[in-house]
């Protein structure tokens, strides 16, 4: 009833081998994919935040130089109108810095998202049963490091926000006072106020430089 068919036998062997190969790939692939997915998740969660922080550091460096230049002009000026305009320019620079680190700014939102992503990963990894214990522990340790560095970067952003807000307030309050003094032609007094600002501006510039060093993009 059944006849021997060499071609059919060969085809059957090939099919069996193919099935075995497919089966082993099916078993092995998820592990590889998972490892890649874990890496991709880590990269996606923090890449954008780290990139934005790096861009921010570059911008801060540029603005720190502009603030220092502004402080020198203010220190040397004998013209209260020019001094007032320099303060206004400084206020514009500081305003832009503050915008970059405002609570509803892109960098802050990314930082919060990266942190909550790390928390979520740690929660799910604790309950993970797919990996060997040492593999699981490796992932957990790496996510803990990432979480700690993300938290540190967020803290520096919070500090920057406070410092820039304070500087902006100082500049605008003094500018308003100088305006009032100029209205009543108290030019000498206005100049005194302008020159007194220089120390405060230089302090801010120093803080900004320290901040540049302190901000470390996660994973750096």
């Amino acid at each position: 009833m059944f006849e021997a068919h060499p071609h059919a036998d060969r085809r059957l062997v090939v099919m069996l081998l193919a099935s075995l190969l497919a089966a082993s790939t099916f078993v092995l692939l998820p592990r590889t994919l998972l490892a890649q997915t874990e890496t991709a998740d880590m990269a996606t969660a923090d890449d954008e935040f780290s990139r934005q922080l790096r861009d921010l550091k570059k911008s801060f460096g540029e603005v720190a130089r502009q603030i220092e230049d502004g402080a020198q002009i203010i220190d040397r000026t004998q013209d209260p109108e020019q001094g007032r305009k320099s303060i206004q320019e400084l206020r514009n620079h500081v305003g832009r810095l503050l915008g970059a680190v405002a609570d509803n700014g892109e960098v802050s939102k990314l930082g919060a998202k990266a942190l909550s992503r790390a928390d979520e990963k740690l929660r799910t990894l604790e309950q993970e049963t797919r990996f060997k214990p040492d593999e699981k522990q490796f992932l957990i340790d790496k996510w803990r490091e990432l979480r700690a560095s993300t938290e540190a970067a967020n803290r520096e952003l919070d500090r920057a926000r406070r410092d820039f807000a304070e500087l902006l307030r100082t500049l605008q309050t003094n500018e308003d006072y100088i305006d009032e003094l100029l209205q009543i032609r108290e030019h000498e007094k206005a100049l005194v106020v302008i020159h007194q600002l220089t120390d405060g501006i230089r302090d801010a510039s120093t803080k900004l430089q320290k901040l540049l060093g302190a901000i470390k993009p996660p994973g750096a």
Partner: protein, 117 residues
């Protein structure tokens, strides 16, 4: 002149990653800082709980409305004047029911008070 051109060029380079002009800042302080924060909205946007009792938000120039959620509805706390590259601070007294808004300076006309910075 060269300095102006350099500054303008630097600023143009910065605008790639810096916010656009036409914005000011609203600083919201909770009093006391550690109080359970009320749910706040600024121009309709729900705010995250202020970290350390303070939030600094970039807003378009104009008048921003600070609202609080009360019994499922949004209640106006105060209006805040937002001027370009200036910061306006409002303090929300979190222990009052409903919460109250305190401004360092008030402008506007009777019946249309606005916090100014």
């Amino acid at each position: 002149m060269a300095r102006r051109i350099t500054c303008a060029a630097a600023l143009l380079a910065l605008t790639g990653c810096m916010p656009e002009s036409g914005s000011g800042y609203v600083e919201i302080k909770l009093n006391p800082a550690g109080a359970r924060p009320p749910v706040l909205y600024l121009d309709g946007d729900k705010l995250a709980a202020p970290k350390g009792g303070v939030a600094v938000l970039r807003q378009p120039v104009g008048t921003a409305k600070l609202q609080v959620e009360a019994d499922g509805a949004k209640v106006l706390l105060c209006s805040v004047a937002v001027k370009q590259n200036r910061i306006t601070t409002v303090t929300v007294s979190a222990l009052d029911r409903p919460p109250r808004c305190q401004c360092a300076r008030i402008g506007g006309s009777e019946g249309n008070r606005v916090c100014i910075g």
